[in-house]
Symmetry: D2
């Protein structure tokens, strides 16, 4: 079958005919593959951790997937839409034993399309039921957003768990008195904005530039606000989510995080350093501020993300499909994998 | 009565005869006052936030107290040892309404001996029962450590609450597989080491210099290890507690915090900045690391701290009294308030 | 305006022209009123706790509401669909102070249409924004289910909070290995079945009789199973939810609750007693079983319930509207309030 | 070596010379064995679940132990006092995998001296370090109380976890406004009273008869109150702990449990049934009451229990040793195992 393959640490990407013997009782036909910074990092040879499965010299790319069951079982039937979880646990540490490979402690996990396991940028794959999450047929193509969304769900769920350390909800039991600022308006930033909005926060999406028209439309339709920080000051906030990875973007905002507030670190690709001062430390200490890094997701996060997509499809309708800014054929995939598409939110490869 | 008073923001400290009309149904005779960096910061005029009670032009110093009830009620009787809580809530925000003034959101709290309320460096004071924590008579003079300890209890309690985000306990339900490093070997550092040890952690106390003989004795007797970081490397750790306040001390250790680990920021007086890089951010994100600032304590933290002091007195006996490295008379107090006592762990003023 | 009124503790119900001076900056036109057992209990004079507002000798009935804003403000605009929360807190106890009047400890709360406050079975009412929950326009008429659903959301949220006492999720972080049995197939039973299904449980709805055709359709369409306990045995279960209120229904099932399982008590109208034996107690103790009673809901439970309705509307489409088995005019209301409608799931009054 | 052995389900108990090949790197000399109702139930042949280790036709009794290390390792040294945990996990279910065999779901655990594993009523035994909890030398003989106490610690810890479902602490962050009633004044009842007192509750110990002089002394010295329910009414309560196992004892008190309150079921040996009515169910539902059964303990519960014993020894001194109402020689053991000792709190066998 046709597959999009790379040789980790070597720049370049190919479409190739391959044959893979795989375990797993469910056969899935890939319908859409989403592209993200990790894929491009691997294609450009920049990511040290990318590696083929043991015994292979190539890696099939692809970890954002919308698939359709071709051969199933009692619980997953032919025609069901499914999304595979990305990380597969080590089986050794306590968190992996309880289905939380997102908190794996040994580092011996694999990640499809990234570390030690083939991805899903190919016509079809076999997987076991336990790694596949069924999504409602009604959500259709935006199901390809579930994988990135699952990571956002994990982060917000962990945030809520952490903030139980005191009373963080408002006088009416909701979050209506809390302001969240999301740094970055890429797909992750926008998915954070929708998730936090659904939780009840007042949400500001911030970037150093004006919004693209699609960004503007999504932010507006979902009841959030866009602030261009190159021309406007951010207000004080209870929650800051950084999707940029630039210390230079979030460190200067530490002084704007309110008492009992939190900073969620999600981005990792930033390059710009920043200096942290004793004043920053004092602010964190005196204000009981928490900073949390968050990575990956559990199967339950995928399932909750699936429910969110259904809700958003119903509430925001057409706006959700604006997330997919470009659909390319398999043949066009190498091009969009090698170079970022201008104005893109999510570029996807259409397999069938 | 005799009291130790300052004029906030003006360097200097006096012993003066004062008369104070106070609310509160319990009359308490001060027995010991502990000294800490905050007291000296106020005496030196360095702390912006220090302020007298409304309508006063002076502030009685003192927030680390061991007192004895002189006139009591049904629950607090004459002769009982008591320790007053420091922070008094704003009465407006949700956390203050539920007895968690340590998480006050309005900032309208007062703190005895620090912000807007007279402290206890005086022969006696009146207070209400709700602000007084009874301690077991058996612990005697080390009861003066309860106030600093309460802040440590709050921090570790919050840490445990936060770490419920995943499985952090070991295969046998304890913390025996976890290593905690405490930066700083002052009274707060040592109290953290004892608390974490009691919780079941393997504990390393670290400083940039060799331990003093008292530090060495306390660390050894309580089953922890001292590492002089100017000559020895710290190992990887699950928990890092900074009591130094210097970003330069803890930022370089971010790369040594293990997956799912935590950094507790407690110190605020540091001056040395540090640069945070994208690699640091990536480590925090990929490892699900949490950084939490912690300040102050609730009444319950005082009560739990009281239980800890009883336990430690029984387990470590004489070692606990080594914490009090010097006892001075009221007349000597200005001297030790103006200048740090060499080799000191805790210097106390003996009132009676 | 026209209103449906009762004199608490006196059987009977009237349609009457009334005028009410009310606080609240939002004017709401009632669109639909749902009927439940509590309404009928009040109409029949059976409920001791029903009482008019202070100074009134009558009570406007109605606590299940779908309304439309007629005069609004910045956050709630003309045309928005809203549902008022039922219980209004005492303002004195800690739980009410933090928006959890569902856990009110003083008992001094009011409940619209039930205790000390007029309900919404009238053409329109004024209320403050803080008591009104906005629902997505797309859900339309099934918004009238939000009030009963909110109580189910509270119960399952509390269940999850309680079950954090150990590991209750399955090896893949979901609830797919857990079986929940819901006793009773009325609206509350069916809403529990949908909520638990969405959470990931295997759900069995049980009753002592065969399902009505509507019950059968809803249960089937939402992926649950119906068991008629008069002819079939229930299997062992991890969760038992009783909506019947009959001790005779759930006590015999205590022996079928698995280790670490839970029994949620929700129903209160049952009459049939049951004997509890030492064997039952031993089962509860040895199996670490929890039994929890749950009543009422917070505003956040209404908001989460609103999200669930949106999800279900999208996933189950027409099936959701089957919940409303009969819509009557205001003039027909007394009839359906006095006598239970055969085969009913939810009977509603259409105001406009 | 000498051992106290039974043949499960056959009444009778013997002192016998046995030889056991055991795994485990630590050799422990038994110093004291505590006796409890389970031991006597096994000796009388009443307990169905008692069974010898696989391949054995006899069972060495004994699960309440105070031992001394004879051959140790780096962490447990010769002379250390140790207490072995009782239940050994199945290794299969999630809770056992994380050290919570007290929540074992498969039921395939063993329990020393009870189910499938030899107990410690013998001169010495080998065990692995992971099953042994070190206790402070200072607590001495009352270390034999640690095993029963561990179960109390588990129950109260679980209670606190469950009660996080709402605000249960008082306005000052403590439990000083909460009243706990403990039904039963045996060793478990008294250990509950001390634990709850240390947590900050107002504690009432209740029995159907006047207290013995020892019970009276312990209850008084630890600041609790004894109520003889045959002549005096219990007040309303926030927490009810049943150590009797009689439904007839706790069911009539359901109407006295306040809003948001809890009933902890711990006893299992009761025989007297009781009827539960719809009024009881309504009380549980309307008041958000929780009922929880609790059994066994994790290693961490033993460690926390060890800290409590140290605290109580320091605070209550001689009173703690009153718990041991009789010390018998090994030769006298069969006698006290067959018949309850009048006025006993804890009877112990002295091995050396």
């Amino acid at each position: 079958m046709k597959a999009i393959v790379v040789t980790p640490q070597k720049p370049g990407v190919d479409i190739r005919e391959i044959e893979i013997q795989e375990k797993g009782e469910i056969r899935v036909m890939t319908r859409l593959s989403g592209l993200c910074g990790t894929d491009r990092g691997i294609v450009n040879g920049d990511l040290d951790f990318a590696r083929p499965p043991p015994g292979n010299d190539y890696l099939v790319l692809g970890h954002e997937t919308l698939g359709e069951v071709v051969e199933g079982n009692d619980r997953l039937r032919k025609g069901d839409l499914v999304v595979p979880v990305v990380r597969r646990g080590c089986g050794e540490c306590l968190n992996c034993k309880v289905g939380h490979q997102d908190f794996c402690e040994t580092g011996k996990f694999t990640e499809i399309g990234i570390r030690g396991a083939h991805g899903t940028m190919r016509e079809e794959f076999w997987d076991s039921e336990e790694n596949l999450v069924k999504v409602a047929p009604s959500i259709g193509e935006i199901g390809v957003l579930l994988e990135p969304l699952s990571n956002v769900v994990k982060a917000t769920r962990e945030l809520e768990s952490i903030q139980r350390r005191m009373l963080w909800r408002c006088e009416d039991s909701t979050y209506q008195c809390r302001t969240a600022v999301v740094l970055g308006s890429g797909p992750i930033g926008l998915l954070f904005s929708l998730t936090l909005k659904t939780m009840g926060f007042n949400v500001i999406v911030a970037n150093r530039r004006p919004p693209s028209s699609v960004e503007e439309e999504i932010v507006k339709a979902t009841g959030s606000i866009f602030i261009n920080t190159s021309s406007e000051q951010l207000p004080e906030m209870d929650l800051l989510v950084d999707t940029s990875g630039h210390p230079s973007a979030f460190v200067p905002l530490l002084q704007k995080i309110r008492k009992n507030g939190a900073l969620v670190l999600f981005g990792t690709t930033g390059k710009e350093r920043a200096e942290i001062t004793a004043e920053d430390v004092t602010r964190i200490v005196e204000n009981n501020v928490v900073i949390m890094g968050s990575v990956n997701a559990s199967k339950d996060d995928f399932q909750q993300g699936g429910n969110l997509l259904v809700t958003w499809k119903e509430m925001y309708g057409e706006v959700m499909s604006k997330f997919i800014t470009r659909k390319v054929s398999v043949e066009e995939a190498p091009e969009v994998l090698e170079h970022k598409v201008p104005g893109e939110i999510k570029t996807v490869i259409k397999w069938k």
